[in-house]
């Protein structure tokens, strides 16, 4: 684990020195938050819309903003740069456990996820969104977002290791992207049309979103929270194992 931490520190330094890669991560989700809230806030006034639990529509949109912000996976593109530039081989030729090479980046991504989630939530507090589940809810909100970022970048890293191509890795992100929108991101699941409801119910991202949303709009609803963490936990384990397996078979 110490090797993973040493490599994680390096990945964090890399992120700090590439602020240009971080800006879209913040800008695009915040742009969607403002646009979606601006378009639908009048349709769903907080005072008379039950599923908003007394908050504005911006609070309902915050989960998709958090998930979007945690779904850019720039770490996987840095990994492709390492592969193309030869540094990845340098690491592989050292007595570093194969798993530490991929885990280092996942650890760093979790830290970045915490930072990004904190920034967005603090910004949303300034604009009047409350975290109804209190300080513990805030911590869980940040943790769930950060863990999602690990799942997402885990998927992207597998593509990066398989294809060794920045273009293919970017495209893979687009394949994953629709899953973020086949969710109850504009209205609750029971208000979706039947086909969309079926798609959303089958989509694991829905449960992560609903857990995030419950933390923002309601007090601690442990059933929903556990489901969200459960999905992220299972996907996280799958991604970590798949990453380790991919790098161990890398030739």
């Amino acid at each position: 684990m110490s090797q993973a931490w040493v490599l994680g520190q390096r990945a964090l330094r890399e992120a700090r020195r590439s602020p240009d890669a971080l800006l879209p991560t913040l800008f695009i989700p915040l742009f969607f938050l403002v646009v979606n809230t601006g378009q639908a806030a009048k349709i769903f006034p907080g005072s008379s819309t039950g599923f908003l639990h007394g908050q504005g529509y911006g609070a309902f949109q915050l989960p998709i903003t958090l998930l979007l912000a945690a779904s850019f996976g720039t770490a996987a593109l840095f990994l492709v740069e390492d592969i193309e530039g030869g540094y990845f081989d340098k690491l592989r030729a050292a007595p570093v456990s194969r798993s530490a090479i991929v885990l280092g980046r996942l650890v760093a991504e979790a830290f970045k996820g915490v930072l990004i989630a904190c920034l967005i939530i603090v910004l949303s507090l300034v604009f009047g969104i409350d975290i109804a589940s209190g300080p513990l809810g805030f911590v869980l909100l940040v943790a769930l977002t950060a863990l999602w970022s690990v799942v997402y970048v885990g998927f992207m890293q597998i593509v990066a290791l398989k294809t060794r191509s920045a273009a293919a890795t970017n495209s893979a992100g687009l394949v994953f992207f629709p899953l973020l929108f086949l969710t109850p991101n504009l209205v609750p699941r029971d208000l979706l049309t039947k086909p969309m409801e079926i798609a959303a119910t089958a989509n694991p991202v829905t449960y992560v979103m609903e857990a995030l949303r419950s933390l923002i709009l309601q007090d601690l609803r442990w059933g929903k929270i556990a489901l969200g963490f459960g999905v992220v936990g299972v996907l996280g384990v799958v991604m970590v194992l798949a990453n380790v397996r991919t790098i161990e078979n890398y030739d």
Binding site: V6, R10, G85, G86, Y87, D89, R92, A93, A94, P95
Partner: protein, 269 residues
């Protein structure tokens, strides 16, 4: 590793790659013995199998069949032990442009198990060795090609390896930087490190290497000291002059110099 154990040994080393049209036989049965303490040159034309062989010996590529040992350890069954005993500087200077030279060396030393304090001390020693002290805290993306090569060399030395693999270490360097790298190779070898060097520059092999092997089409076609290889060619061809290593290389690989002396093409505007 004692003096009797070869630094590098390969027995019928084979590497096949799957391709759309079948199988590419990149290395077709390489047998090699590199003695401890020597500078061994590994020459060959582009695509002959040099880098593939080096990548197998450095644990970066799986072996299709045959066996290889480095520093007395089997490459396939004890890859981690091999990695602890080798230093590797590949064709592409494997550096992270977003780190400083010092950060890169400290990280490399930490990965080889040094404590933070020892890693910092070792990085400082190596920066002085490759004369990069002044640039140590600059980001690598601002380094020249020669500086990158020297840093790459330094990063391969953090753990004082028994065997150092250098894959075309001077390709793309200006003459002055090339001479600096040669001096480094001599200095490293004088400290007892075996050097396995691939190069396309025959002059480099002639100047630096105690022994060398020429690979062509995935097979070793010549092996010996530069002097012995040249003498062999002179005797075989009955030459009345001392052949160069270029002549040995061309003879070994079946390639010819293209000479069109006397033929002048007229070019009209």
């Amino acid at each position: 590793m004692n003096d009797i154990t070869p630094a590098v040994q390969a027995n019928n080393l084979i590497k096949h790659f799957p391709s759309r049209t079948g199988t590419v036989e990149a290395v077709r049965g390489v047998d090699l013995t590199v003695r401890a303490g020597e500078v061994f040159g590994f020459l060959g034309p582009n695509g002959a199998g040099k880098s593939t062989t080096v990548r197998m010996l450095t644990t970066l590529l799986s072996i299709t069949s045959g066996s290889a040992s480095v520093a007395g350890l089997d490459v396939a069954s004890e890859p981690d032990g091999v990695r602890r005993r080798i230093g590797v500087a590949l064709q592409e200077a494997g550096l992270d442009p977003r780190q400083t030279g010092r950060e890169l060396l400290v990280l490399q030393a930490r990965l080889f198990g040094l404590s933070p304090q020892d890693a910092s001390r070792r990085a400082q020693e190596l920066l002085a060795l490759v004369e990069l002290g002044d640039a140590a805290d600059r980001l690598i993306k601002g380094y020249s090609g020669g500086m990158e090569r020297r840093l790459d060399l330094a990063s391969a030395l953090v753990h004082e390896p028994e065997v150092l693999f250098l894959d075309e270490p001077t390709t793309g360097l200006d003459p002055a930087s090339r001479l600096t790298v040669w001096d480094e190779v001599r200095r490293i070898n004088a400290r007892g490190t075996t050097v396995f060097l691939t190069t396309q520059y025959l002059e480099e092999a002639d100047v630096l290497c105690d022994r060398l092997a020429i690979i062509d089409d995935g097979l070793i076609v010549r092996e010996g000291t530069p002097a012995r290889l040249k003498a062999g060619l002179r005797e075989r061809e009955g030459l009345d002059r001392e052949p160069t290593l270029d002549d040995v290389f061309l003879d070994a690989t079946g390639r010819k110099r293209e000479r069109v002396a006397g033929e002048v093409q007229e070019v009209s505007a």
